[in-house]
Every structure is written in C-alpha cells, then in structure tokens.
Symmetry: D2
Subunit: 296 residues, 4 copies
C-alpha cells in the first residue's frame, strides 16, 4: 500500500517504522523535520508538506490534538484539497468526536473516505507493534486497511461504520484508565496512611480481581511515585477528559467521575504538574490527606 | 484442627463445607437451624449456641454485619466469654475497622487471639474454594491458620500483624470494585446512547487494558442488566462503602469517588433497589441520561 | 444618546423600552421582526439589519448566546464592519469570557470600543428598570455609558477596565444562584422526606440567615414546584455553567460544585426538562431520593 | 421558671446570662467549674452535678456533641434518672437526629418531656439574645417554654411536634451555610485568580441577589482570610455534616454537596486546620487552584 504519514511524535514515529517494516511504501511528513531522518534512513520518502504526503492510497495522521489535525486537513493545500478521489484519510490521533464528524462530512463531500482509528498503548507498545486499534468507518475501507492496522497493532476492533464512534470509544477507554488512576489513588491514600505498603497492596489487587494491564501499569507508577518522564502528560489527560465531557454533553449524559477527574487534572496543572505523567493525578488524594504534592 | 463455625449464609455454608472436606473437625452454628442439616449430613456437629461452637482451637465467624458479629461475640455466653485461653477467633465477615480493633482489644484482654480474615469472592468462588483471603493478626496465629485458609481459598495475603488492617484492605478492595461498577456504568451509558453495543464495548475493554475478573464479572452483569438474583445485594454495597468512609474519616482521608458511590447506592435504595445485585448501581448513569431505572 | 439595540427577546425588549422612556434616540433590530412593533409604536426606528442599527454612538447587543452574538458582530455587514470609529459596542448578553476577549480585541483593532455589561435580573426586573448592571471596559466609555445603564438598572457595578472580567463576574453570579438552587434542593429533599413543609422551611431560612432575593425567588419556585413558564430556561442554565467551566479551565481553577450543577442540568435535559425554569434542577435531589421527576 | 442549665461554653454561658437577666431562677452546672463564677455573681446557684441542676421545671443542655449529651443524660445520676415527673429537658446542642429520637423515647418512658431547641447564631448573637431558636416537641411544652426561648433569641420557629425534626432542620441549616462557604470559596477562587478584588466582588453579591447575613458574615471572613480565632471550629463543621449525612442516609436521601463539603473538611483537618473557623473550608478551592493553604 502507498501510505502517507503525517505526524512523527513518539507514537507516530514508532507506527511509521512498523509500517515500513511491514513492506509498505511510505512518505512521511513532520512539522519539525528532524524527526524524518531515522525513517528515510530506513527507506521512507520525505515529504515537504502534508500535501505531498497525500500522493498515496491512504494518508495517516497522528497529531497532538484537534488544532494540529485541523491545520493539516482543512484549508489550502490541506489533506482534503490534496487527496485524490477515493483515497482514505485515517486519523489515529485522539481528537474530538465533533471534529471526527466534521472530517467525515468533509471527506465525503470531497469524494474521499474518512476512517477513525485511534489506538490504545503507550510508546513502548507502539514500538513493539502491540497497539490496540479502535477503528470505525465504511466497511470497504475497513477491509482495505486491515494490513495497515495489523502492521501497527496486535488487534483491531471495528466498532462502527460511523467514524466518530471510534473516537467516542477511545475517549471512553481513556476515561476508564483515568478512573483507575483516581480510584487507585484514593485507595492507596487510605491504606498508605494506615501504614500498608503500596506495592504490596497493588500486588494483592493485581493478583486477584484487578489482574489487568491498566492496574499493573498505572498502579505501579502511582505506588512508586514515578511521574517523570511522562509516558502521557497530565495536560493531555486533561485534554482527553475535556473531549469526553464535550461529547457526553452533546449526548446529554452526565458523567460524575469524569467531572471529578477533570477537576483533579486542573488541580495538578494549577500546581505546575502539567508535564508529569497523567498517573500523577492519582497522587492528589494523598496530597489532600496531608501528604506531599505530586511532582513538587 | 478443631474448628467452630458461626454463620452459615451463602458464603459461610460453602466455606464450612470446604473445611469439612479438608478433614477438619467442625462444629457449626447458625441462627436459623435449617442451614445446619446439609453440614451435619457431611460430618459436622451441630452447636445449640455460639458458646458451644467455642469448644475448639479456632472459632470462625462469617456474619452479615457489625451488629450480628457483636451479638455473638460480646456479652453473656458470647465468644469472648466462651473461648478458652489461647484460642483464636477468626472473623471472615466484612466488618468495620473500628469493630475489628475493638474485637482485637477485647480478645487480647481475655487472653485470646483475634485474627481478621475477610475474603474476596462471590458464592461460586466460595463453593469452589477459590476465595482470596486477606488476613491480619499476630504472626504465630497466621502460621497456625494457614491450613484453614488454604481449605477455603486459592491464596492468602497476610497484610499486617494488626487485625484491623485486613478489614481496611478488604473495604478498600470492595471500594475499587464499586469504582469499576460506577465508571463502567458511566462509560456504557455514554457509548450505549451513541448506539454502541455494550457487550461488544466490554469485549474490547476486557481484551485490552481491562482484562481482569472485576471488569468481566461486573461489566457483564451491567451490560446484560442482570441484577437479579443478587450475588451481593446493593444494601450490602452501601454498608461497605459506609464502613469505608467511616474508616477514612478516622484517618482523615477524603475519598470523593467513595462519596459518589455512597450517593449512588442511596439513590438505588430510595428507588426500591436494595435487593438488586450491587452492580445495578452502575445502571444509574444511564437512568440519569434518560434511560430506564434499574430494577424498575 | 443615539443608541442602536440588537436583540429584542424578553430581556432586550424591556431594556429597549426603558431606554426609550429615558429619552434616548433608539434604532432597534430583531431577527424576527414581530418584536419590533411595540417599540416603534413608542418612537423607536426600525432597522432592517444589524448594520443599520450601527448608525449610532452606542450599539447594544442582547442576544441568546455566543453564536448569535458572533453572527451579528463579525463578518460582512457585521457590527465591527459597520460601527464608526470611536463608537461603543455594549454586549449585555451573557457570553463566554473567551468571546468577550475576542470582541474587545476586534473592536480595538477597528478603532472602536467594546464594553461588557451583562445584567442580573429576570424579565420582571428588566421591565421595572431594576436590573443590576455588571460593567467592564475602558474608563471613559464607562463614564459615557452611565446614563444608559441607569435607564435599565437600579445599580451599576464597574468591576474592571478589561471587558471580559464583567462576563466572568456575571457567570460567577449565575453559578452562585445555581448553587443556591442545588443546595436548597438537597435540603428540601431531606426535610421534605421527613415530613417538613417546604414553604415553612423556606420561611425559616429567609427569616434568618438566608434573607436574600436568591433564596426567596428560587426557594419559592422550588418549594411550590413552579417550573413553568420558565423565567430562565434550564438549557440556558446549562449554557452558563458550561461557559463558567470553560473560563475556569483557562484559569486552571477546579470548581466541583459547578461540575455537579452541570451534571444536574444534563440530567434535567436528558429527561426532557430543557424548557423548564432552571430552578427545576433543584428538584432532582428529591427525584433521586425516590420522588417524582421534575416537569414529568 | 426554675431552670437548670448544663453546659457553659461560649454559647451556653451567654444564653444562661440572658435567662438570668430575664428573671428566671437559674441553677448552673459545668464540667470545668471556672465557668460558673460569672453566673453565680449575677445570682445563679451553682450545682455540683447535672443531677443537682435537675431540681427544676426545665433543664437545658448546651453541650459540645452527642457524647457529652449522652454522658449527662443517661446512666446513674443522669438527667433522666434525676428529673422529676412532668419536667422538661430542652436540648439546645446540635446533636444527631438519632440521639434526639433516643432522648425523646427515654424521657417519654420516664414520664418526662423532651424538647429539641437547637439555635442559629454565633457567640455574639447569643450574648445579644439574638439567636434564632428552632424548636420541636409536644405542643404544651412549646407553649410553656416560649418565655425561655424569648429570653435567649430574637425569634422561635416551632417546626414539628417530633423533637428530632428540629435537629434535622438545624443540621440542614448548617449544611446550607457550609454550601454558601463552599460556593463562595469557588467563585472567589475564580474571580480572584482573574485579578478581581474579593471584597468588591462580595460587595456586588451582597448588594444584589445575595443580600443575606450568611453571605455577609462568611463571605467577609473568606475574603479577608480571617480564620482565627474560630467562631465555630472546622472540626465542628465536619461533625455537623457527618450528622447530616447520617440522618440523610437513614432517610435514603443522597446529598452530593454535603458529601463534597465533608471531603473539604477532612482535607482541612488533614492539613492541620481543625481549629480554624469553619469558613476556612471555602479557601480550599483557591488552594487547589495553586494558592496558599488556609491557615498554613
């Protein structure tokens, strides 16, 4: 498959490398060109603009947020203007449900196909091609993209033929992780203040009812207070819960735990912790109980 | 070991049967005597009172709540008065941290030993001797009780030499389950209102970051809205979060998710749902979003 | 003063009438022209477009929300394009803090003056010229506008020379009203369920520590469950708390009660109550406690 | 009237002095006898025990909490044992609804009358005989006690013939004050971070919709960060919200703002602020937004 790839951050660069390794023909673009070298060294072609990356069957975007995604998609020389009829735009970023719908509408109007395929997994998982891909879009595109998804992930979940649903599901998954961080943080604040070792407590949990990656990963970071360097920064955690709350407001669904998590992230950012790992949010419970402020 | 067993509800009867099967000499007592038959048929001796069950090395109590536990322990012909010097009282019930401490103090004063050993697991797990035992108490007693714990559970976690810590850990575990119920309930309310199948959503979760019994069990009940018969009733869920909040107040630890869960259970009970499975609490998020009331 | 007035809803029409009564020369515009008649009958000139209303010293906008305000301000034939150099745009609508800042910047760039002057008071107060005006903007404009504010209100509070601060203060005031609605709703749910008459309870409160219009007005509506017709609709209450939360997020200030109020409004809207008076939100506490759904 | 008075703290001493001033015959008791002198100097008789204070038509208790009230009421030489047939026990303390009911039952069983008469007002109001009395109990007792209530307060509200209702109403009133503290604290954190002067903001509020003592008093303390000495300590604020939540749980009424306030007080106490004025709780919102810790 001829694939254009726009956005070579930690996650994007690893995914692009795996696409190359799987034998796809890859043209890559990144705003800061220094990220491009390692990939061209392995056979990728460097594009001078997002538009150049669109000379492909599929263009993948993996960008920080809505603003960055909008910037390369809409407007002059944007992806919509540049992509040929029938080609596919796959957005792997975690963007808002509203933008996902706008992209679907705009691509459809331009005779193109939009597919949402956000992923679960931290940078290590991206490198190991062990991501989970949550995909949604028209069925024929889903079929065509299967090899692409297989090259970056360990499993693909097709959740709908409406692209925006994949973003809703992805945001819901991130919310569930944040809920784990918060509830573990509360429980650890409590047992910790009573003198229980947090790692032993976590071992008990993950040996029994909570034997899942989310508990092992985030519980471990919390118990060891290991918040730097961030695998996923707190300010991005805030962004995701904001996007979730916006989608929930459109659907008129109150989400009290999400509201609480949002407040927690604001507290963390107000205290200067925006660049800590988002698991640091869970340490605020112990801070309120008289303990030290996470990261500070 | 000569064991007295007081309290033959769903959980207690199954545990007592496993103690018998493991070759222990068992004397059993239950307030309503009809529960005793199946056990005497398998070799247990029926006690006419809790006091009679105390003619043993160890007496185990597995009762509904603080009140029931206090009733058989303190006062005339109670366990403290009846147990011989050096014998052990093992409380497997989920009781308050404060009562746990009172029991430890009272038994110590009477020259006896108190051990807290609450368990994780629903009645099926009790029957299969697959419980997880969270134990705390003096080290020699822990060693002596190992065969007893092995007979009822798949693994024992010794969390402290202070008995009350086992109850704090157990309540914290139940709180984490309730957090799972609440956050899954919120996420399902959201994606469900957007048209996503709840069981498919759950499959995605439990195939990825949330591959744990708590998510499979409670997520399944929630997705299928299978709240009757209750494995663990909502009113008991409320009781446990109340005990957790009381312990947290003593330790001066604010627990906002626990506070939310408490409000949810009150809502469920006010609507007549006290006898539904405690997972029904998670369905309140969808109710607030315009859906049907759980159980009603 | 020659004043253009754009937006003749319940509030705007009453304010415009008071400006006329105070002797100002008034040109009025409304999207649906049927609202214009009663004012031209009293001497106002009808404008065919917002642009025509800009032939004035001051143009006042009193519109439903951000979208409506943006629509008449920016773009071709918008207020910014149409207003003459040095003239003043006074926005009396409750709009977002971010839009308030955008308007200030755009008017400044166009050599014009932007003033924020949101008001407290329900339609009855607008009719009686008893509004409270919360004003912010450059000092000379404040001075020039004093007679205008006096014509519509009983008192003007100049809170800053930065326009957006007036909107922040106004949103904070609305939040405090919503907090009164919620907390009164909770207290009434409690004492009501215990058999206390809600109006007698309210009388006790307003005779003692809570002797304030907010308690009398909203407490009365709540106690009498008098939610129709709406003085201020629940969906607008949701809009205002959303704007507050957005402003608070920009300033990194967590506001847990505001988050709760937002969830309450979503619940009310999800149940079909968006057109009820916003005080109906307070009745959700009794609904959760087993009572009837407000408006349903 | 011959009145016994038990409990001469800040509030009790002032109330007793006003009863004396109104011409009642007063016998006073306090655990630490140094509080008795000023009153005997003005004509009161000193009692050596609560039992001695019961040689009266009415005995008033004004004690710190449930424990103190139980200690003087039940048991040997307690008020119930000591009071003569037909005499009245008036509890002016803020105690739990459950204890209020127990007292009513016990006095009835002893042929005596129990009346609940908690009061609103800080020590200054007690001194000035400007308290508000919230009274409940059998109608004849209410009539008989009118002069007593008039001597200590500016107005009496008879809310029920069931004593416990007065305590429920009193706790609800304290909850509403705490809600004012929390919501004002949030609003001030927000506008304060935007550069608005908190006292000017409060002036705007109390000049308009929030022109009530609760806003003036607590808003002033908050705006001036004047938390010492405490008029009413934070730990007592926590006690009262705990009693409210317990009563609400019995009635199955979820109260989310009360739950939040409880968490806030726990945070304040965990940080060492238990002896600050309870209005300090409102400063936690600014603390979370990056500001200083109240009292620290």
């Amino acid at each position: 498959m001829r694939i254009g790839f726009v956005g070579l951050g930690n996650m994007g660069a690893a995914m692009a490398a795996n696409l190359l390794a799987a034998g796809h023909e890859l043209t890559v673009y990144n705003r800061s060109p220094d990220k491009v070298g390692p990939l061209t060294a392995r056979g990728a072609i460097a594009a001078a603009s997002p538009a150049q990356a669109c000379d492909a069957d599929v263009v993948v975007t993996m960008l920080a947020d809505d603003t960055a995604t909008e910037a390369v998609t809409f407007g002059e020389s944007g992806i919509i203007e540049s992509l040929r009829h029938g080609a596919i735009h796959v957005s792997c970023s975690t963007i808002s449900v509203a933008l996902s719908q706008r992209l679907a509408d705009a691509h459809t109007a331009a005779g193109q196909v939009f597919v949402a395929a956000p992923v679960f997994g931290r940078p290590e998982a991206a490198t190991a091609a062990k991501l989970f891909v949550v995909a949604a879009g028209p069925a024929p595109a889903m079929e065509a993209l299967a090899p692409l998804f297989d090259a970056v992930g360990q499993r693909t979940f097709v959740v709908s033929d409406r692209a925006r649903i994949a973003h809703l599901v992805k945001l819901s998954g991130n919310f569930l992780i944040a809920s784990v961080i918060e509830s573990l943080g509360e429980a650890m604040a409590l047992v910790g203040k009573a003198g229980v070792d947090k790692l032993e407590f976590l071992d008990l949990l993950t040996s029994t009812l909570f034997d899942a990656p989310a508990y092992r990963t985030y519980g471990g970071l919390l118990a060891r207070e290991e918040f730097e360097p961030a695998g996923f920064a707190a300010r991005l955690g805030l962004k995701d819960v904001r996007l979730l709350l916006a989608a929930a407001e459109d659907l008129q669904v109150p989400l009290p735990v999400a509201g609480l998590v949002r407040d927690r992230y604001l507290t963390l950012l107000a205290g200067g912790g925006g660049e800590l790992d988002w698991s640091a949010m869970g340490a605020l419970a112990a801070w309120e109980a008289g303990g030290p402020k996470p990261g500070g």
